[in-house]
Symmetry: C2
Subunit: 374 residues, 2 copies
């Protein structure tokens, strides 16, 4: 028998199964939309980790009992839940401070600013946008404000804060900059009322706030900003409280050094000029992902990255120390010192502790997904 005539009926049956799956997905999306509507009406967070955990555990057990891999059903359910979060992001959220005066987003036309304008609007607040073209109207737009959010480029933040007209005494003043010490000091200087420093650890390109992180640095009168923190949690984000100093030091490592290294690495690739198509042809998923993580930077705003990299002199010193350590490591392999390399490798491995293996597992699972989607 020809293989095609043996395969054709099986493929038809697989297609039938897939269509039935499609029917169920459509039904599932409808049900989830109803859940979202109820949650929105009662002010419940869209992300319910405990319900997720229980539900996935039950489905895994059922799957494994009948020979279906637990990971398969878990991955599929999580993919469905992600769709649900993305849907629910536009559904409206319970307003945590119903009596608040207008919320003014300074820089509300930028990517991050626009995102906050939208989220505040979906949560029932009266939102005003104050951008350069409206700056002659700033006193008017800020009149009676209950919340002012500064969402302007890093290098402009302190200047914009200092140029603010006096705000209502009980107005909450917040900034969204990726450094926290200087903007927080400036806000405390110009405004005697409640002050909060926020740093959304994501760009305006994310699907929703769900599972993202917002760093939160106390300024003045934490009670007066509790509603906003709760509102952000309702949007699905994890709010992580941290001092401005610790935040800025961590950002040096997490953000600044990473972006700078990526810039330098991209520069090196471009100047070595080996032909990206050839490099990709030789790249298995793990190496492709490395190239993807470099190349993605250069589809984004150079000004933003310049601002992030140069925002603090402490971060530049951190980069300098990295450059020196890199040179030392290079000396080490240059002189063929295997023993010292192994010792240093072990030291680093100890620092990562059990995370090293967890990260290996996590990336293996993620790469398996990357394989599957190409």
């Amino acid at each position: 028998m020809e293989p095609e005539s043996e395969l054709a009926p099986l493929r038809e049956q697989i297609d039938d199964v897939d269509q039935a799956v499609l029917d169920l997905l459509a039904r599932r999306l409808q049900l989830v939309a109803q859940v979202g509507e109820i949650k929105g009406r009662h002010g419940l967070p869209i992300y319910a980790p405990e319900r997720e955990r229980v539900m996935i555990g039950a489905r895994r057990a059922q799957a494994e009992a009948r020979g279906v891999p637990g990971d398969l059903i878990e991955d599929i359910l999580r993919r469905c839940m992600r769709e649900a979060y993305a849907h629910e992001k536009n559904m409206g959220f319970t307003q945590q401070a119903p009596d608040l005066g207008p919320a003014v987003v300074v820089g509300g036309a930028g990517g991050m600013g626009a995102m906050w304008v939208r989220m505040l609007g979906l949560s029932g607040y009266q939102v005003r946008v104050l951008d350069l073209p409206q700056s002659h109207r700033s006193a008017e737009l800020l009149d009676g404000a209950g919340l002012v959010v500064i969402a302007v480029p890093i290098h402009d933040t302190v200047e914009v804060i200092e140029a603010l007209p006096p705000l209502p005494q009980d107005c909450l003043l917040v900034d969204l900059t990726s450094v926290k010490t200087a903007p927080l000091e400036a806000m405390l200087r110009v405004h005697p009322g409640p002050v909060l420093g926020l740093h959304p650890m994501f760009g305006p390109d994310v699907d929703s706030f769900a599972k993202q992180v917002v760093a939160c640095c106390a300024g003045r009168d934490a009670e007066a900003s509790a509603w906003l923190v709760e509102q952000i949690r309702l949007w699905g984000a994890r709010v992580h409280e941290v001092s401005a100093e610790d935040h800025d030091a961590a950002m040096g490592l997490i953000q600044v050094l990473r972006h700078f290294s990526t810039f330098a690495y991209g520069s090196h690739l471009a100047h070595e000029d080996r032909g990206l198509a050839d490099l990709l042809a030789l790249s298995s998923p793990i190496y492709r992902l490395e190239l993807v993580m470099v190349g993605r930077l250069f589809a984004q705003s150079p000004d933003l990255y310049y601002d992030i990299i140069t925002a603090s002199s402490a971060s530049l010193e951190l980069i300098e120390r990295y450059h020196e350590r890199f040179g030392q490591a290079l000396q080490l392999v240059r002189r063929g010192d295997r023993e010292e390399f192994l010792r240093e490798f072990a030291t680093i491995g100890e620092w990562f502790g059990s995370y090293a293996q967890r990260f290996l597992d996590e990336s293996t699972s993620l790469l398996a997904h990357a394989d599957a989607t190409r």
Copy 2:
């Protein structure tokens, strides 16, 4: 009405839908196993890109026609197909050279060696393992060999090749090392018969060969190794032909520099010692992934990485040039030269061309998956 009493019936319905999905998945796995059995019997490759493309296109169109996002059904189907590949990897493959003498894997007890022992065995070859404990029997084990695969650590490869006893004239000699020029030269020197250099661009931890890349460098008598190339394709891998020189130059960028930078970066993190748990608490998915890609190295073999990094002096020079360019870029931001930074950023962006945006999209979609699976 209490939210819980409104939500409970909807959640029950969602659970019913999910159980029905589970039934369909179990059915789908059975059908796919039958397809795999037929493919194996007829020697068809397990990975059928054209059938995949058509099938996914059809399902996307149906989904979108009824308001289900096309990406949702595509992601779920690809996840199912990945499961199928992982299942099929143990199913047996059509033997491409049924009359071949025994296949001997030198270093067959190591991770990569053991993988080839398994794959050759699943494809019907008589496989022998030659490791250090058997080295006194090497003449006996190599007697009559139709294929010899060298799968030993990089720094031992040339030495092991040079220590081989004379092989049968028509025996195919192959190595799997991550550098290609020196091993290929050594194989051509010691063996007058067919020779092929291979570099599987993945570790022994992958699910299967499906969608992985094997670099392939011609040695001698390409016709005599055509069956092996075809066999590897049957296992699901993409075989990419490249000269040994181009391969080694590309590996400098893809593999050596990447591994070395990661080592240096890990060293920097460990010495700055900011507390990994704190860094993770502040990391949104994109930064978490950056940390994951660094930390995963340190759960792996330090000897392997030392060998890869130091295998070629050309690669060490490449690292040195990167270190210099890094220093120049650092000067640039140190002196606050925004204009020059923007110019260089644009130059790099041009080098990446349309890949920059593709990479951004690819990583966004991958990260959305990472969000969903935590």
